[in-house]
Every structure is written in structure tokens, then in C-alpha cells.
Amino acid sequence: MVEIQALSIEQLLALRPLAVTIIAVLIIMMLALWQSKWPSLLVALSASAFVVIDSLSGAGTVSVFGLQFDVLSRIVSALTGFAAFVTFLVSFRYLDQKKEQHPEYQILLLLSLAGMQLMNAAADLMLLFIGIELMSLSIYVLVAFARSRRACCEAAIKYFLLGSVASAFFLYGMSFIFGATGSLAFTALAKANGYLGYLGIGLLTVGFLFKMGAPPFQMWVPDVYEGAMVPLTGFMASAVKAASVFAFVRVLTSCTMPDYFWDLIRFAAIAAIFLGNAVALTQTRLKRFFAYSSIAHTGYMLLGILGGSSSAIIVYLVVYSVASLGVFSILTLMSGPDDSLLTSLESAGFGRRHPVLGGLMSLFVLSLSGMPPLAGFFGKYQLFVFLQDRTLVLFAMLASTLGLAAYVRLLINFYMKEPIGVMSRVRTPVGAFFALSLVLGLMLHMSFFPDALIRLISGL
């Protein structure tokens, strides 16, 4: 018999960010009646801002029902909240241009944010599954948001079908673990050994590898990243990937796996790094290019998982997400009315026409490529410095030269090629400018004062 304890005050307080998100969703639904776009944006912004601030100010570990709010989960919730905040700001003008300005966009995004918070804090597999499904389903719909465009629908249906098959596998794995240990709590995972337990965790891994976009299940990443709307791709590349990676880390840290399992992860990491960087070299469309580079970064995170220290992975997550948020925000501004600028041919010489945006893009791209002064390098350095498997690290560094080649090709394209014909002047709206400066500030802070980030993660 499961008796229900009374909820203490700080348990309730721990639930505050989740509650605020849900309440915001309800308010926006009501506001939808007035057909004015501003209030729903404001509510969404304040909700996500609240999530960020509240998560950062929380302390200690609190466990409520099946959730366990500890330091790391708060950081990732804050990160996802920040991603949502920036996505709202950046996509506001974008939706006007695409004439798709409906309040449902904010609702679905907030719902996915709520799902992610559930995932981050989950201590029970079923709650984790509910969080994953809540996030995924709202993202499926968001991908198909611009119903009229063929690419969106195609990407959405692909993402939906593959996603739901992966969830089915995930669920099936959960049932095996339930069979092996009798409960779905993370604490029970440690006892999940023998046929049933390992098979169950194997299936869980299938689900997670799909959600993170790591090979052998990364077929969907390029198509969906290219099909979806640009701000949404940014949100997926940063927040969705961060939440799923963090969930995978929490599951793996709480279960003891035999060596051959880690070889599987090692294979996935190597495949991701090599595939991501190599294919990125051949891409001409910018969105597809950054899709492959995100696969490569998933590979680095998998490598981090092998290293064992989860705080190092979180630091890398934060650094990567911030950089990719920045990149995709600029892509959103670049895309303009008809997504024309997003191919390397048309975007040649972009840096010369728009020095400020070009400069920001170079900064974010250099951070992604791991160029020293910026946060990307620091992320990679602290991820690998305590990794025992040196040959793997050497391989990762050498494969990142392929990545560097791809990024440098992009810089060359931006600065050293002559623009073809007249390039439409890109105006940066106030909201987007504020979001970009926020992202830039965060990244530069992490570049020059990285110890603050580490203290935040370990200390809190």
C-alpha cells in the first residue's frame, strides 16, 4: 500500500517552476480569445524567465513524488528555460514574417518546457517517460506549425513516426525493468542485472540515443532540423538535446552496467563525431550543416559520459546549448521572408554586408568549433582533461579538425567570398537584439570566467 505523506512546504516550493509553466499555458489559452499577439508573448516570456530565476535560486535536493530536484536538474531546467526565453524573443518577428503568428506557438513551447522540467527532475522511469512524451508531442506539433509549407509537414510526420517508435521501444524497455526489479524508480535500476534488466536498459538506451540524435539513430536529425522553422530548430538543438542528454546521464549514473555496454556508447560516440564532422564538410545549406555539427557535439557529450563525471557533461551542455542558441537566432534573423539566405551560395559575403551580425556569427561558430578563447574550447578541455582513454581523446581532437575545416569554410564563405547580387538588408528587431546580447553576454562570461560556471554547478 502506498501511503500518501503530507507535502512539506519546501517540497511544494520545489514544484513552483513547473506549476508556473502550467498556469502560464492556461492563461495564454484564455488570452487567445482576444486575438492580440502581445499579451501571450509577455506571459510566455515572464513564465520562462521565472523558471530560469527560480531554478537558479533553489538549493539542496528535494524529492517530491517521483521527482528529485537536485543541483544538476536545476541547472538544466534553468538552461531549458533560458532557451525557451530566447526562442520566444527571436521567433516573434519571424512568425509575423511567415504570417503564422498564433498563440498556440507559445502554448506548445511552454508545454514542452514543462515536459523538460519533468524529465530533468524525474527519479522514476514512468515520470521520466511522461516528461519525454509531453516534450516530444508538443515538439512534433511545433515542427508542423507552418502547415502550408511542404517541408514542415514532411519533417513533422517523419519526426513523429520515428519518435513514437523510439518511445515504444523506451516503454518496452521500462516494462522489462519493471519485470526485473519490480519498480521503476531510479534507485531500483542498480539491481537491474541479468537478462531482463540488461535487455530493458538496452531498450532504454535505444530510446535515449534516438532522442539525443546519436548514431545509429540519427537519420531524422538533418531532415527535421532543416524542415522545422529556424527558431524551433534552435530550441531543439539546444534545449531538447540538453534535456535528453541529461536524462540519459541520470539513468546511466544510477545503474551499474557491464563493460560491453560502455563499448556500445564508445562506438556511438566515435560514429557521431566522425559522421557529424565529416558530412558537415559537404553541406551547402546552413541549417543542414548545423544539424550535422549538432550530431558531432552529441558525440562529444557521449564521450563525456564515458568519462564518468556528470558535472563535466553539464558544463559542456550549457556551453554547447548557448552557442547553438546564438547561431540559430542569427540564422532566424538571416532567413528573412523566404528562408533564401540559408544556403551557402546566397549567404556568401554576409559578414561584409552585416558586420555586427557577421561578427556575432563568427564568435558563435568559433565557440562551437572549440577555438580557445571562447567557451567551446573550455567545454572540450574540461570534458577531456580527466578522461582516461587518451587514444579516444586524440581521435576526438583530430576529428574536430574536420569540424574546424567545415566551420572555417563557413567563415570563409561569410567574409572572403563576394556576395552575389544585392543582398537584402537584414534588420534586427529590438527583441532579437536583446536576446542576442543576452546569449553573447552569457557566452563571453563563460569564456573568460569559466570557474563561475563550475562553482555554480558543483557549489549551489
Binding site: G194, F210, D223
Partner: protein
Amino acid sequence: MQLAFLCFLPFLASIFNGFWYLFAKKPWKMAAGVVSTLALFTSFCLASALAFHDVTFSLPWIATGSFELPFVLRLDHLSSIFVLVITGVGTLIHIYATVYMAHDSGIQKFFAYLSLFCGSMLVLVLGGSLPILFCGWEGVGLCSYLLISFWFDDSEKAKAGAKAFIVNRIGDVGFLLGMFVLFQACGSLDIETLTHAQLSPTTVLIACSLLFFACTGKSAQIPLYIWLPDAMAGPTPVSALIHAATMVTSGVYLVTRLHVLFDAAESLHIVMATVGGVTAFVAATIALVQDDIKKVLAYSTVSQLGYLFLACGVGAYEAAVFHVVTHAFFKALLFLAAGSVIHGMDGEQNMWKMGGLKKAMPVTFATFTLGWLAICGIPPFSGFFSKDEILFHTFTSGHTGLWALGLVTACMTAFYMTRLYIVTFLGTKHTHAHESSWGMLAPLCVLACLSALGGIFGHMISHTLAFHAEAESSQLEWILMLVSACIAGLGIALAFFMYDESRQPIRARIQKQYGWLSTALAHAWYVDEAIDLVLLKPLRQIYGFVWRTIDVLCIDGFIMLLASGGRASGDVLRLIQPGFLHISIACMVMGAFFIMGYMVYGQL
């Protein structure tokens, strides 16, 4: 302190002239020459003041950890002789050159290079340690390059300059390696410590042979003499100063300076002697058929230098120094006289186009005669005493074969010098040539006196060197003197007989009969062409081959392979991204089954 001043004065003059040439607009014709001549003349006075005193001057130069390399100048008996010769003959040649080059546009540049040369030569001669000597050694090589290709409009002259510099550099590499061997053996490169250090015979042998190789480069001996004849492309005063009086003797100076080491390397003596003798003989044979005045004098210089190394080989260092001094006098005289002839004939150098200049240029004729007598070795003149001394020492040291070779060469020297003398000055042809001005003739006269009296005066100086106890066996000496005087007379008579106007048909018959020999001699035994064929052509092939294969093919090829490999793998991996939905799902399911199987299989 005066020693430093003596050495650095020419450098100052060179810098002054250089800046004047580059930056001043209206050059006053004679000023550059005057500045350089004054500088060298003051050096000469200082040198004569300091002569034969032991003076040293040192400045800190390179000092890293234990290795100390100060800039040391040391004047002692031997180097003061050389300094006097350099500054004395140098000043005379400077005066001559001021007039000779008066009409040339780049006169400041010429005198800048000339002073730079004298400065480097003084550093070479006064150098206290081998690296300082080496600095002078290469500085002199640089100036000879700059001066040979002074008239750089004609690319032939520029190539001759480059050839001289590169051949010298080959010798310099030998010098470097010799220095390293010595440094490794005795830890210091100072000449004093080297002469007193106990070194194992093998290191001494290796070091001395390397240094000797360097001397052959600088003093134009057998393997590396090819650059001297081409060096005649430079202006005549340059040929006189550098390629007759001073630079070419630096090899002999190095050997005499390190004579203690060279004495210790016994097996090297015979090599040096034979190289010297053979060079003398071969150069003399080539000089027999040359038509260009300066080429004849160039080959005669090579052969006289051969004598010097013959003397060093047999251990007669005093004789060598004595011959250097006298050779400097009469060879400089001959070159300057030839220069004034060329000047008079407006640049014509082929002696067959001259003739009968006796009347047109009386003073030049008179001074040339004195020089001619001196070089042939006619008794009262300086050439006789120094050459005879060398032959005497060769004979007494038991190398009779080399003595005979030396004697034959002496005869040939007399023959070709007289041939030159007759064809240019005597004879009935009336070629119009204007006598040079007194600025050029005065140095000629001074040099004529020196080469006439030099014999007695030089004999006295060189004997003061007294490296070895002088065994005076006067009776044998008188006989040998007589023999060499007769040989010289024979040579002259033969030449008079052969090259008299009336003997034209006999000459034609000999020409027909030994035609092949004279063409071979004219082309200097085809040595240049041989070296070009055997060494330079294959080297040029190698350079091209090395670049094309290693750089372009191997390294770049490998890198391009890697780069295209990266790109190709990208393209291949891109192809496995199925656009079709059902293929994606199929791949996904296969992946899932693989993982499930792997987990179960792993369990076994």
C-alpha cells in the same frame, strides 16, 4: 688603440662613400677616390709606425656561457709584413684607380667596395682567432663578388662574380669544418692557444687538410682555381689589388700563420707541394696560348701561387712570404701597366691587336719592362731572388722531381711573359694609343722601383722571420742560382726567337702540327666544361627533381589525399542519410534489434 684605428679606417671610408653614392645627388668625380686613398694611406703610415711590434687589440663580441669569442686583432712580425704590403700596394692602386675610374658613373660605389675590401683584408691579416680571420676571409670573398660584377649591365660579368663567390664559399665550408675540428680538439679557436696546444696527429691532419682545401679555394689552386681567370671581368685596378696582390695570398698567410700545425701534419706536406707544383705547371701551360693580356696575367698569377704552395709544402715558409711580397710588387705593376695599355687602347684587351706601343706609351713600356724582367727571374730583380729561394729549398728538401717541374715552369713563365712583352710593345706596327696621365703613371714607377729593388730589401725582411735555423750552404746555393738564371735567359731567348715578325711561317707550321694542343690549352684543358658537365648539369636536374617529387608529389600529395579522404568520407556518409521515410524506419528498427541482440549476446 692605433691598431683598431688602422683596421677600421677603410671601413669608415667605405661607409662614407656608400652613403654618398646612395643619397648624395651631385657626385664630385675625384672626391670618392681621394677619401679612400687617404684612409688607406693613413693606415699605411700607422702600419709602418707599428711595424714589427707585438700589439693586440680586443673587443668583446660573442660570449655565451663557457664559450668566449672576443674580436681580437693581433699584430706581430708576420702580419705586419702582410699589412704593409696590403696598405702600401693598396694605396698605390687606389691612386691609380682614382684616375682610371674617373669617368665611371658609379665611382663612389667602386671606392666603397674597394675600401670595404681593404678593411676586410686587414681584419683577415690581423685576426687574432680563427673565426675573426674567417670573418675577414668571407668579407674579402664578398667584396671580390661585388667588384667583379661591378659593371653589372653585362650579365656575363655578373655570372663571373657569382662563380667566384660560390667557389670561394666551397672553400669556406672547408675552413668552417677545419675550425670545428680544432675547436672540438682543443676547446678554443685562438691562434696563440692553437699553436701551443698538444693535438693528436689525426685531428691535426684532418684540420690542416680542411684548412688547406679552404686555401685552394681562396688562393686558386688546382681544384678550385677556375674562378680566377673569369674574375678578370672586373675593372683592372680590382684585378691588380685583389686578384694579384692581396686576396689570393690570404691562403698562404693562413698556412704560414698556422705553420706549427701544418708542420705537425707530415703527410700533408707532399700533397701541398705537389698541388702547388702541378698548379704552377698547368697554369703556365695555359698561359702560353692566351690572347687576352689580363688572362695571361691571371694564369701567371695562378702559377706563381702554385710556387708559393710549393714553398709551403717543402716547409720554406720564409721563402713563401718573401715571394708573396715580391710577387705583390711586380704582378701589381704588370696588371696596372696592362690596365694603362687597355686604357690607352680604349678598352681593347686582345694583345694581337696591339703592337709597337713602345713609342706610343714610353713610360708604361719602361715600367712594364722592369716588371717583365722581375717576373722572369732575371738576377738583379726581385723575382729572381724569391723564386730561386723557393727552388733552392725544394731542391735541398729532397723533392728533386718537383724542383725540376718548378724549373720547367720558370722557363715557361719567362717564355709567355716575353711573348706578351714582344707582341704588345715591340714589333713595327704603329697602333695609335695615348699615354695615360701622370696619376696612373706615378704608381707604376713606384712599383717598378719596388720590384727592381724588392729582391734585396725583401730578402732582409723575410730572413728576420727566421722560423727555422738557416743552414747556409753557399756553394750549392750559387750553383742553383746560376741554373735558374740560365733557364730564365733560355726562356726569353726562345720567345724572342719564336715571336719575331720574320718567324710568322714557322709559327703557322707549329700551329698546324700541334693545333689540337693549342685549342686544348686555349680552353684551359676544358676544365670548366668538364665541371659543368660532370657536376653542375646533374645538380640542376637534382634540384628540379627534388622539388617536384618530394615537395609537390609526396608531401602535398599525401595532404591532398587526406583532405579529399575527409571530403569523400563526408560524401559517402551523406549518401546513407535516406530521405525516404520507410528506409529510415527500417534502419532504426535494425539498429534497435542490433542493440537488443548485443545486450543479450554480451550477457553470455
